[in-house]
């Protein structure tokens, strides 16, 4: 099930080494965790722009006459309903209604889609998508090894892309809406340019063949030099997505989590006319009383971290929740956390207590996201 026993390297690895990056293992990949300062990288994305290497993520192409009907069956959403070059966030469910992976799907043709899976779920996602294709006229192709993914995120992203030498788009990039994509080219190779991201800021994600990835990275870096662009690592990506209230597989999402618990009920399209894997279980829904995902904020500087217990009161013996992600928010200046808690303490404004290494710290249930960019 885990064919990779050796470390994997991004096609941009040498650029990261040259930029002084520290590396971390992410699903078997050696990826940049930070270049200099994760706080500086975080702030750069909120105020200017950050450049991310996301080449570890998996790209799975689905093509064939039945592609749209197949995805309606394989995924929780109604992918047949999306327009050409529209993007949609969706879920691969298991038969029990749990989450195999959360994905972004781009419609790249009338009968062609590109499914982006998490690096940590590359093989479970590929296996599920391949198995589910059996009775459809469709081809599922793993293009992950051939495709690099570079994200430019932050308010200056558009300006930077427009200033990048060699990068051309088929249409006006400025008119590209959020969660839409268009084709483009870098020098002479095709690039998919998508206005998507995982930071809570405006930004773009560029899918490029690996042999042109380094040249594109360098061209973006050059274009961004006058616009505050800095390379940004996975540490800042994590605090950015946490502030934006975005779930991370392995933290907020798992095979044992129902979408409804994670606040993703809307992603499961029960109005869809056709059957899909996980439909019956999703119609039943999670057991009454199942924990639900909430946001928590607290005062001070000490954040509850993943796996820390949440209590109803300062002296309760039995925990009624658990933190799944938490950090001192670089943008807001106070701790922000996501936690699964009993529905009876999930109401907005409820005061709860987080056990931070032996000290119970008061926290307040709050709406997600913690941070939204100004429109």
């Amino acid at each position: 099930m885990t064919p990779e026993l050796t470390e994997r390297y991004s096609p941009l690895h040498q650029a990261h080494v040259d930029a002084g990056a520290s590396f971390t293992d992410f699903a078997g990949w050696q990826m940049p965790v930070r270049y200099s300062s994760d706080l500086a990288e975080h702030h750069a994305v909120r105020t200017a722009a950050g450049l991310f290497d996301l080449s570890h993520m998996a790209e799975i192409r689905v093509s064939g006459a039945d592609a749209a009907a197949y995805l309606d069956y394989a995924l929780a959403g109604k992918l047949s309903a999306i327009a050409l070059f529209q993007a949609k966030y969706s879920l691969i469910l298991n038969a029990a209604g749990g989450i195999v992976d959360d994905v972004v799907v781009y419609r790249t043709g009338e009968s062609e889609f590109l499914v982006i899976a998490n690096a940590g779920n590359h093989f479970p996602a590929l296996e599920a998508l391949t198995k589910r294709a059996a009775r459809f006229d469709v081809t599922v192709t793993d293009e992950s090894d051939d495709t690099a993914l570079i994200a430019v995120q932050g308010p200056n992203s558009l300006t930077i892309l427009q200033a990048t030498i060699g990068l051309t788009a088929t249409d006006d990039l400025g008119a590209l809406r959020y969660y839409r994509a268009m084709t483009g080219a870098f020098t002479d190779v095709p690039v998919l340019i998508a206005r998507t991201g995982y930071t809570g800021e405006d930004g773009f994600e560029l899918y490029v063949p690996i042999n042109q990835a380094l040249a594109l990275w360098n061209a973006l870096t050059t274009a961004g030099a006058d616009h505050g662009l800095v390379p940004a690592g996975l540490a800042s990506r994590d605090t950015l997505r946490l502030e934006a209230g975005m779930p991370l597989y392995g933290h907020e999402l798992s095979e044992a989590t129902y979408p409804a618990q994670a606040g993703l009920g809307r992603v499961v399209n029960l109005a869809k006319e056709t059957d899909f894997i996980g439909r019956a279980a999703s119609e039943e829904g999670p057991q009454a009383g199942s924990a639900v995902l909430v946001g928590l904020v607290s005062a001070g500087k000490r954040a509850g971290r993943a796996s820390y217990d949440v209590y109803r009161t300062a002296d309760a013996h039995t925990p009624e929740g658990m933190i799944t992600s938490g950090a001192l928010s670089p943008t807001l200046g106070h701790p922000v956390m996501m936690a699964y808690v009993s529905p009876s303490i999930a109401r907005l404004g409820t005061e709860v207590f987080v056990d931070v290494r032996g000290t119970r710290i008061p926290a307040t249930v709050t709406a997600l996201p913690f941070y939204s960019r100004k429109p």
Partner: protein, 123 residues
Amino acid sequence: MTDQTTLQYTAEHEWVLIEGDTATVGITAYAAEKLGDVVFVELPAVGTGVIAGSIVGEIESTKSVGELFAPVTGTVTATNDGVVDSPELVNSDPFGEGWLIKVTFLELPPLLSHSEYSALTGE
């Protein structure tokens, strides 16, 4: 700039400067780099008795939490208020302005030399 070759070290990535019966303690640049940007430091109160190897403080970054271990048994005589107010000093000057506590001790346990510590971190 402190001469790092004159310092002693622990396997928990602390540096120790011995002056008479006082040990000044901080975390190494290697540890600070691994932690990432430090955003919160909690230190023991002056006068606290500490035992070598016990946890006496916390150093939190956006990503993780590091524990401060007492390298010697003794009494805390000073803490660095500057680093509590400006935790980023741990990253910017770990061997200088980023020092954490001073402890008086009766007996010095075995510590690592600079070359032994360098071998440990592979740097």
